[in-house]
Symmetry: C2
Subunit: 225 residues, 2 copies
DNA sequence: ATATTTCGTTGATATAAATCAATAAACAAA
DNA sequence: TTTGTTTATTGATTTATATCAACGAAATAT
């Protein structure tokens, strides 16, 4: 059993991309013993804003959307997470956002207390974790940059490029871009209506900026511009 | 001289609001010896994206705008900083943004190497610093929330509220709100044109949502809603 | 396979913001 | 103070997006 658990982390598909990469054999064993793999269907809420933080989640497979509720109770998506990303930490007490599966997803769940022990005694993991936070900040600023673009067409194109780079970071090719999330989530992320997003896709096709295999498989024609 | 320097930090108006609060007498003395106070005119660029990081700046007085340049070379303001805020750290090598004075400003400048020494040996300062980073992330997400609001009027009102809370955090009253930055900077921050911002102010006045003393001194009439 | 539901596209129209242009108010300098 | 310069407001018009509505395609369930 313990042997199986150890091999779980040793064979982890995302270990090289995540804080776990700086754990030595002994600590990795401790992680293995405490980590649980869970599979979720799509549209399942993993954690909610206001709930007490008790676990940190690493994404092994699938896509997660992260959102907040604004004062009118409307959902505002602040990001899409991919394998190699993690979520659920920061701050002391409570989660500050909702995390929901977009597709079926496989997650690695670690008790926050265990995680914090490693965080306090391992400078490497602390650096990685801090790096992840500043990376989140960069992504938020990229989001801001997209939101201030003047046309819906430009916003949508920037979004596709962003996802393209994201999947490239995971070792997949730049093209085709797989837009797993529904149009309405893209619209929400971009501060647009789904009809506007749909029309932007149509214009980008007419422009030859993109080509569509299916509505969820897109080819960016001019990688630059 | 040394005595004067020590008293500089001891009498610092923002010490309680910043990482320096967790320095003991000895380390505060070291900070004092290395910190330089500098006064800048308005519209002066303090640091530029791409430059090598060599200092971290604490704001003692005045307002700083932080911006990035997007791929078209246009300025995109990502935040306004107030006394008690600091900027210039994060990441290893280079600044990732521009910082420019909006008003006349007084800054406390600390060599980054000195700062990092304290950061590595003092867990308290590390925690404070991490907290500041997550706080930046919250502000970025607040910005995203404002940018996705549907009307210019709502965006401008949210902006005024945000500044109101910001100045409240500094110990000033909620009203009146002092909008030190010009309309064009507000417009840029909100992804709008300055004429649109101006018209939004006019509508908010007509609504009785706000009242204007001058164009830079605003009273929020219904603190809630 | 067929029915049902969800999701995406397209059309017509209304509405909000951008743009172009002029004026007015505030600020700085002589 | 007066002049010049910058910044803000208002107006007229164009343009882009939201909204309302219908249809079509894809996915899911029966």
């Amino acid at each position: 059993m313990d042997k199986y658990q150890a091999s779980k982390c040793l064979h982890c598909p995302i270990r090289s991309k995540i804080y776990c990469s700086c754990l030595d054999v002994e600590n990795l064993k401790d992680f293995s013993d405490n980590a649980k793999h869970e599979t979720f269907d799509k549209k399942v809420i993993i954690l909610s804003s206001g709930n007490e933080i008790n676990s940190i989640y690493n994404i092994l497979d699938g896509i997660i959307k992260v959102y907040q509720l604004n004062e009118d109770g409307n959902q505002q998506i602040i990001g899409f997470l991919y394998p190699g990303d993690f979520f659920g930490s920061h701050e002391g007490g409570q989660y500050q956002f909702f995390a929901e599966t977009v597709s079926q997803a496989k997650l690695c769940k670690i008790p926050i207390k265990k995680f914090r022990i490693h965080l306090s005694k391992n400078a490497g993991i602390r650096d990685k974790f801090y790096e992840a936070t500043t990376n989140e900040l960069s992504l938020a600023r990229e989001h801001i940059n997209i939101l201030t673009k003047n046309s819906a067409e430009q916003k949508v194109l920037d979004f596709i490029r962003m996802i393209s780079l994201r999947q490239h970071k995971m070792g997949q090719p730049i093209n085709p871009v797989h837009l797993i999330m529904p149009r309405i989530d893209i619209a929400n992320y971009l501060g647009l209506r789904l009809e506007t997003v749909s029309r932007a896709f149509t214009k980008l096709k007419a422009n030859n900026s993109i080509s569509l295999n299916n509505f969820d498989s897109i080819i960016i024609n001019n990688a630059i511009s």
